[in-house]
């Protein structure tokens, strides 16, 4: 068989995705967390940007960044973690921009969700799928 490295990677990532628990099993937990943050209000798209790697080298330390100009606070959720709560950024009067970066733990391939509460009380949401793979030797 003549695999290119790219094929092998896609195959590996696909296999890893299939092997993991479906994201739907945890969707309600993260939906609950979003509802708690928004008070049940609907969220729309646009005005919030989430930067996360397409493939996380290691689920233990995944760098992510979020930016939502004009936001009062932004919540980060990991829809596939046993507990979806990651963190909440509350921007004070001296924040230079409504953006922040951090490093998070992801239990497996999943959606990372960011919801921003805007100054006018509205909510915007975005998400990004991060593939978390198992290493080669397990080492």
């Amino acid at each position: 068989m003549d695999f290119t490295r790219r094929d092998a990677l896609i195959l590996g990532a696909g296999a890893a995705t299939v092997a993991l628990l479906p994201v739907q099993a945890f969707a309600s937990a993260s939906d609950d967390a979003i509802a708690a943050f928004t008070g049940g209000a609907a969220t729309s798209e646009g005005g919030i940007e989430l930067t996360a790697p397409e493939i996380a080298e290691n689920g233990n330390t995944v760098p992510v960044a979020v930016s939502a100009p004009g936001a009062v606070s932004v919540i980060l959720l990991a829809a596939g973690n046993p507990n979806p709560d990651v963190c909440t950024f509350n921007f004070g009067p001296l924040s230079g921009s409504q953006s922040a970066s951090t490093r998070i733990r992801l239990a497996g391939t999943q959606s990372v969700v960011a919801v921003a509460k805007m100054a006018d009380g509205s909510f915007v949401q975005t998400s990004s799928v991060v593939k978390v793979t198992i290493g080669g030797c397990g080492g």
């Binding site: 004070g92 921009s97 953006s99 970066s101």
Partner: protein, 109 residues
């Protein structure tokens, strides 16, 4: 007090009034998530930094609520507006009740 907990902060030393500066913070902390199990199969209780705050001359820049999914040695990068010379104070609150702080001064010319 959890042992070996040490903050590290990067703040520019000078700025002009009204500048937006980038601040980077790190604190060495295990962030025991509450998900791990010990050798008997019992869950190791959560013990994390649960809040991080940055203030400048008494005004708030950012406040972060952390949960177990924040990686070991919590790292935050964010921006602050600097109106005048003064001190940034950084505060981390630990589940075990400890409070860690760090201060950095900035000169606005």
């Amino acid at each position: 007090m959890a042992s070996g907990v040490k903050p590290r902060v990067k703040v520019p030393k000078t700025a002009s009034a009204g500048d937006i500066i980038t601040i980077k913070t790190l604190i060495s902390h295990k962030m025991e998530s509450g998900q791990r199990k010990d050798s008997d199969g019992n869950k190791i209780p959560q013990s994390i930094i649960n809040t991080f705050t940055c203030d400048f001359n008494g005004q708030n820049v950012i406040n972060v609520e952390l949960h177990g999914a924040i990686s070991t040695n919590p790292y935050f990068q964010f921006e602050a507006t600097v109106p005048e010379s003064g001190d940034f104070t950084f505060t981390w609150n630990d589940d075990d009740g400890s409070v860690y702080t760090e201060t950095k001064s900035i000169a606005v010319g």
